[in-house]
């Protein structure tokens, strides 16, 4: 269970410049909630470092991630 602070921080980082990303990330957060593990959050944080257009390319499946570690998380985002 994530603590409130960690959760709040990740929620705010999911505020993006493109509506496409806002919508997918909101759905994902709503589905996973604070049950996310620390490892997942760390991976999500890494994806959230990307510029919006690159993040959207990954979510939309236009590109594959350079870092295979984010694979499972990205699949979850793609399904969200």
């Amino acid at each position: 269970m994530l603590d409130q602070e960690r959760w709040n921080r990740i929620v705010w980082r999911c505020r993006r410049g493109m509506l496409e990303n806002d919508l997918v990330l909101t759905r994902f957060l709503a589905a996973r909630g604070r049950a996310m593990t620390e490892d997942e959050v760390a991976l999500l944080d890494r994806l959230l470092d990307l510029p919006d257009s690159e993040l959207w390319d990954l979510i939309a499946g236009r590109r594959e991630p350079q870092d295979p570690a984010v694979g499972p998380l990205l699949s979850a985002l793609r399904r969200a």
Binding site: N8, R9, L19, D22, A60
Partner: protein, 588 residues
């Protein structure tokens, strides 16, 4: 109350989108101390979403001139745009585009190395005679490329960014001079005064006041709320551009390019209804015409789906090759947000809020202006506004595509230059108003002290629902009057919100409650202004007053928060150097 900590700068800019960073660049390069605040990392500002391009009469594809661009803009604005500002913008357009190129913007190129320009709705040569290619773009990533280019330049020029800082309120002294902002640091929950000789609002649009919106969640109209609470008027807020093709239920924009490639709109009977409304241009008529036609079909019961609340955008007849090659991102959007594969099935779409033409009134220097005595445009000392939150007014009642990114560059730069011209470094800071920060602290104290009250997400949802139902594509007196009543009820509910989370670090519930204060001001300004304007012009379509009425309504609306009062001021029909373009019928 004990005093808030104070930090001092020559200039504080609220907003790190295209407009804020274009302004900050001028200041930082001139050696001023500049603080730029942003709720999110600068390169996550909403400008990154812009795809289409930046309008400028470079004439790289065929002959073009700023005067033709000026005519298109005035006509697009349905004559509500100020012709001095429009002349200035169109004349400056090539220069700001070349500057951006020089900063390293990766524009698409022609084989001869010049900037490639693409066609766009409403861009014409020789005063409406034939289409002209005027839009400068970086693939379908124009806004993204622009924000990244400006950010790099700003870092080089040592602009100081305050990331994840939210400005709450303007500080004004008894004479009305603006002295900076009160800001909230999300990381710590600390509140601070950022004192400045000059303050620039560049907070972007407020598209989130509507349920169906192409705007990202961050567009809550904070600068508009701050200006309204500081006693300043908001101009022409009834004018909101609808994009005809937002994905139903999600809002995500489907570019005009789809219809450009041959996509067509169908109603529940499978009829290509645009043939009835616009026999010549059909599905490619201007944004407002297509949006109104779609709305009419839905209102008359020919909408699609269980609630008959949308129409269909059909493109499967283009064949998989065209779709995959020329419109790849559309297929992904349709799959993800409408759950349809557009190679086989049509996409459900509705007219969707896209752009706010009105905003904080300014002159061509970006200085905020408000009526004082007999002067309708008296400068508010120390305050500037640029970008979508400002109303200079170049878009009037309807914005021409690609003119917003241009507006950011031209007026961001102009405001920067005007500020640099004031020799701020030689001036001291004013004595800070004695009550500086009190209003913001009272807002926070109320929120932290409320043990129970209205839910923030719920009230925000009600605002969006009400605005969508009562202030949509087609408006009439009955709808609007009832909408005003409901929005005023919601205003009272906003004052009674409470949040469960009292933590300090990254308290997003608190941030959203503070944003709600801005959403409601924008919603009130919009619907009260729309109710009062008894005519149809540009994006404001009233079924009870279907015609433009220049005799009574060729004027700008000014809405004040105090008593939700309205005032009006004349449109400037006098350009800077050329003959005026007198109003005439707007037909395409």
């Amino acid at each position: 109350m004990s005093a808030l900590p104070v930090r001092k700068f020559d200039a504080v800019i609220v907003g790190a989108g295209g407009s804020g960073m274009r302004a900050s660049l001028q200041l930082a390069e001139a050696g001023l101390s500049v603080a730029v605040l942003s709720k999110v990392f600068p390169t996550r500002s909403h400008t990154v979403a812009a795809q289409g391009g930046i309008g400028a009469s470079l004439g790289n594809m065929s002959e073009d001139s700023w005067l033709w661009h000026m005519y298109d803009t005035i006509k697009g604005s349905d004559w509500l745009g100020d012709q001095d500002a429009i002349e200035y913008m169109c004349k400056m357009a090539p220069q700001v585009v070349y500057e951006l190129e020089h900063f390293g913007m990766p524009f698409d190129r022609n084989p001869d190395g010049t900037i490639y320009q693409r066609p766009f709705g409403g861009h014409s040569a020789n005063f409406g005679e034939r289409p002209v290619q005027r839009a400068c773009a970086a693939a379908d990533r124009t806004g993204h490329a622009m924000v990244h280019t400006l950010y790099q330049r700003n870092v080089r020029a040592r602009t100081q960014f305050f990331v994840e800082w939210m400005a709450l309120d303007l500080i004004r002294n008894a004479d009305g001079d603006v002295q900076g902002v009160v800001a909230y640091e999300m990381e710590t929950g600390d509140v601070m005064i950022l004192q400045a000789k000059v303050t620039v609002l560049a907070t972007g649009g407020a598209g989130r006041i509507f349920a169906a919106s192409t705007n990202a969640f961050i567009n809550t109209g904070d600068g508009l709320g701050m200006a309204a609470r500081a006693g300043l008027p908001l101009e022409d807020m009834e004018f909101w551009q609808f994009h005809p093709t937002g994905v139903a239920g999600a809002g995500v924009l489907i570019t005009e390019g789809v219809r450009g490639e041959g996509g067509i709109l169908l109603n529940a009977q499978g009829e290509r209804f645009m043939e009835r409304y616009a026999p010549n241009l059909k599905d490619l008529a201007s944004r407002d015409v297509v949006s109104r036609s779609m709305d009419q079909e839905i209102k008359e019961g020919r909408g699609v789906g269980p609630h008959k609340d949308h129409v269909l955008l059909k493109l499967d007849h283009l064949g998989p090759d065209v779709i995959l090659k020329r419109l790849p991102s559309i297929r992904e959007i349709a799959l993800k947000f409408a759950n349809v594969d557009c190679i086989k099935e049509p996409i459900p779409v509705v007219p969707t809020i896209h752009y706010q033409m009105g905003g904080i009134p300014t002159n061509v220097n970006g200085q905020v202006v408000a009526p004082k005595g007999s002067d309708p445009n008296a400068v508010v000392p120390g305050l500037y506004a640029v970008g979508e939150c400002a109303c200079v007014s170049v878009h009037g009642a309807n914005r021409l595509g690609t003119n917003s990114l241009l507006d950011l560059l031209v007026f961001g730069r102009a405001a920067g230059n005007h500020i640099v011209g004031q020799n701020l470094r030689a001036q001291g800071q004013q004595a800070l108003a004695r009550d500086a920060g009190d209003a913001s602290r009272a807002r926070l104290a109320r929120l932290d002290g409320a043990s129970s009250g209205e839910s923030v997400p719920e009230v925000a949802h009600e605002i969006r629902k009400t605005m969508q139902a009562h202030c949509g594509v087609f408006r009439n007196q009955q709808l609007l009057a009832e909408g005003v009543r409901q929005v005023m009820d919601l205003d009272a509910r906003v004052a009674r919100t409470a949040i469960g989370d009292r933590s300090r670090v990254f308290n997003t519930a608190r941030v959203e409650a503070l944003e709600l204060d801005n959403l409601i001001e924008t919603a009130k300004a919009t619907i009260v202004s729309a109710e009062a304007r008894r005519e149809s012009r540009g994006a404001q379509a009233r079924s009870d007053y279907p015609n433009r009425d220049d005799a009574n309504w060729l004027k700008h609306t000014l809405w004040y928060r105090d008593g939700s009062r309205l005032d009006y001021k004349p449109v400037n029909l006098k350009p800077l150097s050329v003959e005026a373009f007198p109003p005439k019928a707007r037909t395409y």
